[in-house]
């Protein structure tokens, strides 16, 4: 029981700075051996007792009749003067101080109304995707071929369906096209004429690629009426508007028209037996 060694322990200290893992507060500059200074010549009452040391009477070694005794009153506060070293925490520092506190509006749990929120976002996505698709497709549609360009498209005619000596009228570029499957007699008739004396001199060979197929625009060169086939004085066509007569090769013979019936661009598709106009 004779303990001569004073035990330094951290006991019932008021909350203060951080503690070491063992529980001892960290006070690096603390001098436990310090005693209050006795200044008698301080005019204003002096510095007062040092407040960080325990009072003498609270602990220490004393000499008794049975030897040295160390007594520590563990419940004694380590200082007489008790500054109110209260535990306090500073106000919680916000991460973004300018942002108001939304805790009142937050959902209780994460899953409530989650599906609704996502549905709203998805709905807006659906609408905007639909708008974008409509815009793009409409703008691209304006770049598609317009009606007049489509009218310029080629026309195919099945020649096997046209017997000899027959006229066929097809529509191409909005205009009628005469196709005649000429008989050998008609070809002969067309070629024996002296074409140089005609109003618009043109040999029959220059007007047809194949002699039996006469392809020409059915528009009178006078004022644009459609001549009637197998009519007129020359075995060809007759325009009823002003009386222009065309022969079996489509050349003008009589009447006010100045030129022969125009021959459009065409090709023969030998394999399929088709004529492609345009």
């Amino acid at each position: 029981m004779a303990i001569s060694q004073a035990v330094k322990k951290a006991v019932t200290l008021a909350p203060t700075v951080r503690t070491l893992p063992s529980g001892v507060p960290v006070a690096p500059l603390l001098n436990l051996a310090a005693r209050p200074a006795h200044h008698d010549d301080h005019g204003h009452g002096g510095a007062g007792p040092r407040v960080d040391t325990p009072p003498r009477w609270s602990s220490g070694v004393s000499r008794t009749s049975s030897g040295l005794v160390s007594k520590t009153f563990t419940t004694i506060s380590p200082s007489l003067y008790q500054p109110h070293r209260l535990l306090h925490t500073s106000v919680a520092v916000k991460e973004a101080p300018e942002v108001p506190d939304f805790s009142h509006y937050r959902a209780n749990n994460n899953e409530s109304h989650r599906a609704l929120s996502y549905f709203m976002v998805g709905g807006l996505g659906v609408l905007s995707a639909s708008v974008a698709k409509s815009s793009v497709s409409e703008f691209l549609q304006t770049m598609a071929a317009s009606a007049d360009v489509l009218a310029l498209a080629k026309v195919e005619v099945d020649l096997t369906s046209i017997p000899e000596g027959k006229n066929v009228i097809i529509k191409w570029r909005g205009k009628p096209v005469f196709i005649r499957h000429r008989t050998p007699d008609e070809i002969q008739e067309a070629r024996t004429i002296d074409w140089k004396t005609l109003r618009d001199p043109q040999p029959d060979e220059a007007r047809v690629k194949k002699p039996e197929w006469l392809v020409m625009l059915g528009v009178c060169t006078h004022l644009g009426c459609v001549p009637i086939g197998e009519a007129g004085d020359f075995g060809g066509w007759f325009c009823p508007c002003h009386g222009s007569h065309y022969d079996i090769s489509g050349r003008i013979r009589k009447g006010p028209a100045p030129l022969n019936l125009d021959v459009p661009q065409y090709e023969f598709n030998e394999v399929d037996g088709k004529l492609v106009v345009g």
Binding site: E111, R114, A115, Y118, F119, G122, G125, V126, K133, S134
Partner: protein, 60 residues
């Protein structure tokens, strides 16, 4: 309650499925909206358009 959770799990959880659903929905919405508005327009202007009175004039 669990319906919303089920919907969330199947459609909204993975973004790839979400975006695919949005595009499919946009396609369906486009078609459906077109049909719906056309039907409404025809009904609103019934008897005034050519297709309504065509049968009186065209000889087939």
């Amino acid at each position: 309650m669990s319906l919303s959770t089920a919907v969330y799990q199947t459609f909204f959880k993975r973004n790839s499925i979400f975006v695919s659903t949005v595009f499919a929905g946009a396609f369906a919405f486009g078609v459906g909206f077109d049909l719906g508005v056309t039907a409404f327009y025809d009904r609103w202007n019934a008897g005034k358009q050519w297709k309504d009175i065509r049968h009186k004039y065209v000889q087939e």
